[in-house]
Amino acid sequence: MDIFLQNVANSITLGSLYALIAIGYTMVYGIIRLINFAHADLLMVAAYIAFYGILIFTLPWYWAFILAIVLTTLLGVSIEKVAYRPLRNSPRISVLISAIGVSFLLQNVAIVVIGARPKPFPRPEQLVWNIKVGEISFLSLTILIPIITFILLILVMFIVKRTKMGIAMRAVSRDFETSSLMSVDVNKVISTTFVIGSALAGVGGIMWSMQYPQVDPLMGLFPGIKCFIAAVMGGIGSIPGAMIGGFVLGICEIMIVAFLPGLSGYRDAFAFVILILILLFRPGGILGESTVEKV
């Protein structure tokens, strides 16, 4: 029983991290139908800014975190301006290649500027401590991250569902042209989307590196792909879907190792198998309606 509860705790930690990052993915994808490959690298950038903020500029951790989120947001918005906006009317393949290019560039600039060697991420003691309940032990983050994820989920849902900008976002996601006929500045709406998405990436990057306290230039690669899978599982474009997808993926990954340790080497393959099955048989994801565009 202890083992099972421990595994539940493990699942919650991993699942809520996936969920947090997946929400950012799904925001951006939902509006402009672009797999923002650079999203994964924004995690890395946020982690490094927080890292340098704390260690080099000796900022208190909360300032370092805020700074990291702000700068990551700025970077995310600039990426959209420079690399995606000029391609707004181009084939989707071009934008996708551009996204891959940006991701490639961020990683390699980080390697050149910071170096390829990983660095330990300083965990603020106020946020991270060990909790022991009977035989189960976990970090305070196991509680903190789901709470943050949930708060952000509510916040993002509120923005998208209740505010004027949110309605405009959904309108833009459907139809650029008609939106602009309604006096909606499409560029501004998309920028706002990237503000939210990148800020979420910032938070995600910081949470990720507190949980797995190590930063390196390629650290975004795996969470990036996993969280995209989570977003697809939940129904890409659906914000509660991303949350559910994140948790489901996290739980599945932990449980496959827990119950079938012999197959633990196939853990990543398993995530991809789920992805492909979902794409093929339920492209709307767990929550979404079947909205894959027809020709």
Binding site: R174, D175, E177, S180, L181
Partner: protein, 235 residues
């Protein structure tokens, strides 16, 4: 109110508009009729700068608005009900109407206007919280018109509002157009259904492959032999 001078548009290599001159006086219904592909939609889209103009000028209230961004143009009081309705299928009826009022900030007035629209289209009221994609064609057309009105435009441009609707609904749509006009809104209407359009229009233009070939008051135009022959399907 709207004045178009020698408007030319290219689509890639295709010369779609070959110099259009057109005028829409205040408080009138002006219609632009012509066969499929004559360039009617292109004219409207060029006014809103959705397609770029190669040459020519567009004046609105005497102000040159050629080349201004779509958002700027619509904020000046021009609204287009696009062909095929183009409602936001993923938004509720209510949200669609709110989108129409996007440029406005007067919350109370917006509520009043929504109320008025529901009075005019009771069917929409019933479906207020419903996702717009689930509406029938006719309801969608009502919604598209309602959404356009929500921006309180001074000039309402409509692209084929009767397309794909049952005859009974077509009639209703034209009645609504009349009504709106009666309340003081200027309308530029595009129709393939030339009979009905010319019947309600104060003035009409006939287009053919990028040119305006005929113009005149609506009823007069409807009587002309060549118009009848070409567009009114006289057998």
């Amino acid at each position: 109110m709207l004045k178009i001078e020698d408007l030319q548009v290219y689509y890639g290599g295709i010369h779609a508009l070959k110099g259009i001159n057109l005028e829409v006086p205040e408080n009138k219904i002006v219609t632009l009729v012509g066969a499929n592909g004559a360039g009617k939609s292109t004219t409207l889209r060029a006014v809103c700068n959705i397609v770029p103009t190669a040459s020519g000028r567009v004046f609105f209230d005497g102000e040159n608005i050629t080349g201004k961004s779509t958002v700027d143009i619509t904020r000046k009081g021009i609204t287009l009900v696009p062909e095929g309705r183009r409602i936001f299928a993923n938004l509720t009826v209510h949200e669609n109407l709110l989108m129409g009022a996007f440029a406005r900030n007067d919350k109370q007035e917006i509520q009043n206007d929504i109320h008025k629209i529901f009075e005019r289209f009771p069917r929409l009221k019933e479906r207020e919280k419903q996702i717009a994609g689930t509406l029938s064609g006719g309801e969608q057309q009502m919604l598209a018109i309602g959404r356009a009105i929500m921006s309180r435009p001074r000039l309402l441009m409509m692209d084929e509002p009767s397309l794909g609707l049952a005859p009974l609904l077509v009639k209703e749509v034209f009645k609504i157009i009349r009504d709106i006009n009666d309340q003081g809104m200027t309308i530029l209407l595009i129709e393939q259904n030339a009979t009905a359009a010319l019947k309600i229009a104060d003035y009409g233009y006939v287009m053919e492959t990028g040119h305006i070939v005929l113009e005149g008051p609506g009823r007069e135009l409807a009587e002309k032999e060549e118009v009848k022959l070409a567009y009114l399907g006289k057998s």
